[in-house]
């Protein structure tokens, strides 16, 4: 931290101490957990000069992953490794465990937090598409009270979140998926580790006894300015029996969203068709057990 320019560096020992501190400060607060983003940002530009950096990495209250009825609650201090290796997450939200396993490298994952991945709001954040299909919620400490915000409402645009000054995300809440829900997470990078996502695809899907799709949510990441899911894409399969034609339709519709939403960029000529091909590959394997 010696090279990070900031007004003050503060490391509370307890959440209570942090709450006290927040009540009594009107300064700009930046939180640091794993530091795998903040330290890099600070190295590039002095953007924390007027901020107090509050280190929450050691707060025991923010650690851990637990069950709360039909919900999984992930503490803001949980690292990607914690999430990746959590039995609860692997059982009830496998897509998130897979996504967390694709982050950086083992060393990065041991230190970086899932919550940091959200708040950093990078479109290339590896976990975001999985949190999108899971419809995550965030519990936020604001003015000494806990409020619940929708994950989609918190990320505004690339690298910008909508949290207010001093807001502290304390927990990530996810509705448990039925154990029979099939999950897939696909990541495309330029190399196998330490790769900035060029694209991620997160999929959750459940079929009933007759083979009809009862739950389906698919989206891609690193393609849109913020995490998004699409009802019109998902509705193509919901209530129907999966077929090659329907899968092709999903693939076409989802990949067409890339230029629709992000505009035609230099990367579109690559990303749009690759998205279409990969969605076909993922769904054919998942739903038809076919390699395409």
């Amino acid at each position: 931290m010696n090279n990070v320019k900031c007004k003050k560096y503060f490391r509370p020992e307890t959440l209570l101490e942090l709450k006290d501190f927040l009540k009594n400060t009107s300064e700009n607060v930046s939180y640091i957990a794993g530091g795998t983003d903040l330290i890099l940002h600070a190295r590039e530009k002095d953007i924390y000069e007027n901020n107090i950096i509050v280190d929450i990495f050691n707060l025991k209250e923010l650690k851990g992953i637990k069950e709360e009825g039909d919900k999984i609650v992930i503490g803001a201090g949980a690292t990607h490794t914690d999430v990746e290796q959590s039995d609860i997450v692997n059982k009830y939200a496998k897509v998130l465990a897979l996504a967390c396993r694709s982050v950086g490298s083992v060393l990065i994952r041991n230190h970086s937090t899932l919550c940091g991945n959200i708040c950093n709001a990078s479109p290339a954040g590896d976990s975001l598409s999985s949190l999108a299909v899971l419809g995550a919620k965030l519990r936020v400490l604001r003015d000494d009270k806990i409020i619940e915000l929708d994950f989609f409402d918190v990320i505004d645009k690339p690298e910008v979140n909508k949290l207010q000054n001093k807001d502290l995300v304390v927990e990530i809440v996810i509705n448990k998926l039925d154990e029979n829900v099939k999950c897939d997470f696909f990541k495309l990078g330029r190399r196998k580790a330490l790769a900035i996502s060029r694209m991620t695809i997160s999929t959750i899907c459940k079929t009933d006894e007759s083979g009809n799709v009862v739950l389906f949510n698919i989206t891609c990441g690193a393609t849109f300015p913020k995490p998004m899911t699409f009802e019109d894409v998902n509705n193509i399969l919901i209530g129907k029996k999966p077929s090659k034609e329907l899968i092709d339709e999903v693939a076409k519709k989802l990949s067409d969203k890339i230029p629709e939403i992000a505009g035609i960029r230099k990367s579109t000529a690559y990303k749009q068709p690759v998205c279409e091909k990969m969605v076909k590959r993922v769904l054919s394997k998942m739903l038809l057990n076919e390699e395409v």
């Binding site: 490298s105 495309l188 330029r190 190399r191 196998k192 580790a193 330490l194 790769a195 900035i196 060029r198 690559y270 068709p273 690759v274 091909k277 990969m278 590959r281 395409v292």
Partner: protein
């Protein structure tokens, strides 16, 4: 040459292993001299612009800033350069690339220097920027007034009558290929530390310095201080791959100037971004090739026009062109060669020494062309090479008769093919690819590498060392060849022990120090083992002579033949210990100490038909790499499944580390082949990818566990200890083998013509092939 060996040829723990794995070894930035000044450079805002004025006032007002230094502070010569002196250490008349340094700010701390450097304002008058060497040739915009057409070098290797051979060919293969800038990506960014003596006009320079004696000349020329009073002590160096010569030298000159003026210690390091911005790169090279063969695919002639992008300064571009032209044709038989290699100045990053030095690019072009020839003849890439490779006593493409060396390229190829199971996989993959979107490929790349510098350095390829046996029979050994992480100090110590006939335990190899080691050529051109070995052998022979004379005097007898071997000294039917022999020498006050010198014999490289022909090198290393890949044609992602690299480095002095060099070389080639891209901006000459987040090196996850390094040893009679070159052969073939494998997977030889084969490029190549009906 030695037959039975006691030290060399045996796996040996490197002499610096423990200090390095424990983290105790000191690198340049670890040095903490008393109250150093810290430097921060201000870089050119334009790649090509007249320098009008530097506004230093605001920076000078900052508390803790000691000074701002620019070209006006250079007391003597303003330029440096190893072969061509054309590089300003501070921008003088105009900027030539975006890594040029306008001035340095010296502050009491790094933070002070960093902050103050932001306050420097510079007035420029922008000039047109040349970023493509092809259009720079003859352009009215001249970068260096001594080279009016921007062409700074032109090497032309010729054998036979190319036109006649091409006219008489049954098959002609023509194609064009391009490669891009490649960063050395040493783990340690450059750092230099300068300590001025307060006793006399003397500077001691530490840090990441690959070529200490060249640096000494430059600092001497800039400051006017004699070479004897410029002491270079390279620190431990965190990788170099040819990259810590001119850049580190320019830095050391700036720091030396500041130290000399202020009489303060100076600490000057680069961030990764500064390192990539300022340092020179591997040359992008453009190839235009035409190959003629008979109906069986036997090569008759090869004609190549190549242009390398020298960037802003000549640096090693002419030497690189020499290796492209003389080694680019590969280890193939041909009646005629016409290989032209031009070096052209532009406003891009300058380009210089990098492991391979002009051959990885040429091999990429040549091996793709060979695959295209195979396709036309309808034989496998393996078969086409088998039909064309050199054998003992054959004459190389440049005209060198190979009657002095095992021409082991065929063996290297066979060993690789066996290891990777080429024959059966080749057939299997062809079938497999008909029905799969993830397609498989095998690629082969062959090379012959000249040992050391070559005939362009005829007469100045020399090395020296100093060996001193102490009275207790321990050995102090000093050599100016620098350890860059490749294990050089261990191999040199092993050769010293072998040469003296003592155990390795006796030998201490001192840190390189120009005040203790005699002047020697740099640790470049894969020459350390062969050239260092030659000097060591000479010194050992001289010491043996001294001990022989001593024993004659002490024993009062004549000695005809004396053998020093494995801690024993045998003469006149007697055997005494090495220690005893040394003690006898000292007993009559004789000194078992000698300077060894070795010079590569001049080779016959002569003018011919407007170019040069004959013997471009003294000896050669043969190598073959094979790669197996899987290409996802839906995404363009290439996975390297396995690589094999067989190298005939003569003798492997330390076999386990020789393998290590080859393993590392394969990975380096993998990056060059698939992912490494500096994102050169063709409009303004800048590079966008200045750190390793976007400059994509292979990680452990990307490197196959299955890679195999094969030592195909045939000790070389032209090298004192039998070993010739390994460093560069270890990497020069791998990018090409991968490229050829990808093209096989795609189903079209020579399909992708530019490096690297990244996601987008492979993806769009697949789409284009679909359109063509593949």
């Amino acid at each position: 040459m030695i037959d039975k060996t006691w030290t060399i040829g045996h796996d040996t723990v490197r002499v610096d292993a423990w200090a390095k794995v424990r983290g105790e070894a000191k690198y340049g930035d670890d040095l903490r001299l008393d109250r150093p000044l810290f430097l921060k450079a201000v870089y050119a805002e334009y790649a090509h612009a007249k320098l009008i004025k530097i506004h230093k006032e605001d920076a000078l007002k900052v508390d803790g800033v000691v000074g701002v230094f620019d070209t006006n502070d250079v007391p003597k010569e303003k330029m440096i350069g190893e072969l061509f002196v054309d590089q300003y250490v501070f921008v003088d008349d105009k900027t030539r690339y975006f890594g040029d340094v306008i001035c340095v700010v010296a502050g009491e701390s790094q933070a002070i220097a960093d902050e103050a450097s932001k306050l420097i304002k510079v007035d420029y008058e922008p000039l047109p920027v040349l970023t493509d060497p092809r259009t720079a040739i003859g352009n009215e915009q001249v970068i260096n007034k001594n080279y009016k057409d921007n062409v700074c070098g032109d090497i032309h290797a010729i054998k036979g009558d190319i036109e006649e051979e091409l006219n008489n060919s049954d098959i002609i293969v023509e194609d064009k290929f391009e490669t891009d800038f490649v960063e050395h990506a040493y783990i340690e960014p450059e750092c230099v530390v300068v300590e001025p003596s307060l006793m006399r006009d003397e500077l001691t320079i530490y840090g990441s310095l690959q070529a200490p004696y060249n640096l000494r000349i430059s600092v001497s020329r800039m400051t006017g201080i004699p070479e004897s009073q410029i002491i270079i002590k390279p620190s431990n160096i965190g990788g170099s791959f040819g990259g810590k010569i001119e850049t580190a030298e320019a830095m050391a000159c700036r720091a030396a100037i500041v130290a000399n003026i202020t009489k303060r210690n100076v600490h000057y390091k680069l961030t990764r971004e500064e390192s990539i911005r300022e340092s020179y790169k591997r040359h992008p090279i453009y190839f235009d090739m035409k190959l003629g063969a008979d109906k069986d695919g036997k090569i008759k002639g090869l004609k190549v026009d190549s242009i390398n992008d020298a960037g802003a300064y000549i640096n090693m571009s002419v030497g690189v062109a020499y290796k492209t032209a003389t080694l680019g044709p590969g280890p193939y038989k041909m009646n005629a060669l016409d290989y032209d290699a031009k070096a052209v100045l532009t406003n891009n990053s300058h380009t210089g020494s990098m492991r391979g030095f002009g051959t990885p690019q040429a091999i990429f072009a040549m091996e793709n062309l060979m695959d295209e020839l195979a396709e036309k003849v309808n034989v496998s890439p393996y078969e086409i090479r088998k039909r064309n490779i050199l054998h003992d006593n054959d004459i190389t493409p440049c005209g060198h008769k190979l009657d002095f060396i095992n021409v082991s390229i065929g063996e290297c190829m066979e060993k690789c093919a066996k290891e990777i199971d080429y024959e059966s996989k080749y057939k299997e993959f062809k079938e497999y690819n008909k029905t799969h979107k993830k397609k498989k490929g095998l690629g082969i790349a062959l090379a012959m590498r000249g040992g050391s510098i070559g005939a362009d350095g005829n007469g100045f390829d020399v090395s020296r060392c100093l060996i001193e046996i102490e009275p207790d029979a321990s050995v102090h050994f000093n050599i100016g060849l620098v350890e860059l992480g490749q294990g050089l100090r261990t191999t040199q110590a092993m050769m010293c022990a072998e040469g003296l006939g003592c155990s390795l335990d006796r030998v201490t190899i001192g840190e390189t120090d120009t005040s203790r080691s005699p002047v020697t050529g740099a640790c470049i051109a894969s020459r350390g083992t062969m050239l260092g070995g030659g000097a060591i052998k000479d010194a050992c022979d001289k010491i043996h002579d001294i001990i022989k004379v001593a024993l004659e005097k002490v024993n009062d007898e004549e000695i005809d033949n004396i053998i020093f071997e494995n801690e024993k000294v045998t003469f006149n039917g007697k055997t005494i210990s090495f220690e005893e022999a040394v003690k006898k020498c000292y007993s009559i006050n004789m000194t078992p100490m000698a300077v060894g010198t070795y010079q590569v014999p001049k080779t016959n490289w002569v003018p011919y038909r407007g170019g040069m022909t004959g013997e471009p090198f003294y000896t050669y290393t043969f190598s073959c790499a094979m790669a197996e890949v899987e290409v996802d044609t839906d995404t363009g992602f290439t996975e390297v499944i396995k690589m094999v690299d067989a190298v005939d480095m003569g003798r492997a002095i330390n076999p386990i580390m020789a393998k290590g060099q080859i393993y590392g070389g394969m990975v380096m080639g993998q990056g060059m082949g698939l992912t490494e891209d500096l994102a050169h901006n063709k409009k303004d000459g800048t590079l966008k990818n200045l750190n390793f987040d976007n400059y994509i090196l292979p990680t452990f996850s990307d490197v196959p566990d299955e890679n195999v390094a094969i030592l195909n040893e045939h000790p070389d009679g032209r090298s004192a200890f039998g070993g010739h070159s390994l460093g560069e052969p270890g990497t020069e073939t791998s990018a090409s083998a991968i490229a050829c494998a990808v093209n096989m997977a795609l189903g079209k030889a020579g399909c992708i013509k530019t490096l690297p084969y990244d996601l987008d490029k492979v993806y769009f190549a697949c789409r284009n092939l679909e359109k063509e009906g593949f």
